[in-house]
Subunit: 234 residues, 2 copies
DNA sequence: GGGTCCCCTTAACTAGTACTTAACCATTTT
DNA sequence: AAAATGGTTAAGTACTAGTTAAGGGGACCC
């Protein structure tokens, strides 16, 4: 149906009968939906590398929609947030809470209208999302290119830009043989003897990080290049 | 819909497919856009309306961007003018045409970049889009952008406008890596070596304020930029 | 009109970092 | 065994950023 992975929607709505209606309709429309019955649980579920859009009811027990939005904004300023508000709410109050790309939709709304609003947001952020918040899961390791962080079991390595560039390239081409020349041209932009030796130094550094997960290893193909072996399940 | 009147943009661009793309994106971003396919019609449209900003393609049939700019300058010396130029153009030639608040942006540019540049300009002339009273809580610190005040435990620092602009930007994008270039484009409007050093001076100043709260810190990501680390719990 | 103040930019010096180069050793290939 | 390739560590170097102070332009005031 969709070659692209489904967009994940964080839906926070305390009226569960309404929540399920929205959820089912969004699933029908090809989204993946996580429904939370209150504000706090929405915050707990949130993960910036995971969700494409957040739909937050404004009036909820245990942290209202605005509080949740502020929290989410601290964690990601990219993800679009759409408020679901009751008609009774004054516009000023809502406006005041808007920041950046946020919008709101007044209950009762049609699913069509909701889907349209969501599309507008997603169209706007899809490009950025696809190249701005890159993260990879490599075995037990989690690598966020945008944060320059490589995590394993709570241990965090702060990478330099070059290390991250190299690792990103390896991740994007894992489990196949990469010629030295290929890596150099793509990551350094040119290929000469000294940069080749420089690359070897970086390879050593990356291997130190990978020690933590024996399933992940950077194999040398003598005279040719490397192969970044990673578990392929999942 | 919006209580604040929308900012009107005069967009002169002879490549209509590009013109429509820009127009649609600007409308999405909340602007009102008048698109003109050549220089003369841009001049005709100009005096009839009160525009907040002009975006002029340099190379156009029937009066080029510079000619249009001269004409507009006769009618108003306040309105910001932003040129859209082809990469091939020599910088000197463009610089020569700059006057006062004018700037230029080189094609191809991202809509993000265009919006950022426009924002910087508009902020300079009119007092912000609609932030009546922007304030942030950062750990133990309390920052009121509108009052230019940073408070901690009864101690108050009076910030300058630039300090506040920078801090506001950092607050709005905390806990993620911000490239130097990104900060410069957003806060200063352009990115060159000296402004970069100027930014470093401001960074030093802000860090002095943050000394009061160890939970808040402005981390350097060497060779990349900064990350404004603020507590996210609570 | 000149002086003063304020704030931003530029300069200058210092400190620190990341990448390259070198050196030496290990492994593989011929 | 000799030669080539790659692993590893350390030294070297260019660059980046921190910091403080000196310039310099604009606003305000007398």
């Amino acid at each position: 149906m969709q070659q692209v992975p489904k967009v994940k929607v964080l839906l926070a709505e305390d009226d569960l009968s309404l929540g399920y209606v929205i959820k089912d309709n969004l699933i029908d429309a090809g989204y993946e939906v996580i429904l939370c019955p209150d504000g706090q649980s929405a915050i707990d579920k949130f993960d910036k590398n995971d969700f494409g859009i957040c739909l937050l009811d404004v009036m909820m027990p245990n942290k209202d929609g605005f509080a949740v939005a502020r929290k989410i904004r601290q964690l990601s300023d990219m993800v679009p947030i759409l408020f679901l508000t009751a008609r009774s709410m004054e516009e000023d109050k809502i406006k005041g809470f808007q920041s950046g790309a946020d919008d709101y939709i007044t209950k009762p709304f049609s699913i069509q209208e909701l889907l349209m609003r969501m599309e507008v947001f997603l169209r706007r952020t899809r490009k950025m999302h696809s190249d701005k918040s890159l993260s990879f899961t490599i075995g037990k390791l989690n690598f966020s290119y945008t944060d320059l962080k490589l995590k394993i079991d709570k241990e965090v390595f702060n990478l330099t830009q070059k290390e991250a560039d190299l690792l990103k390239f390896l991740c994007e081409h894992s489990n196949r043989i990469l010629k030295r020349e290929e890596v150099l041209l793509n990551v350094w932009g040119k290929d000469d003897y000294f940069l080749g030796r420089s690359m070897d130094v970086f390879i050593t550094k990356l291997r130190k990080y990978f020690k933590a997960d024996p399933e992940v290893n950077l194999e040398t193909i003598h005279g040719v290049g490397f192969r970044f072996n990673t578990p392929t399940t999942g």
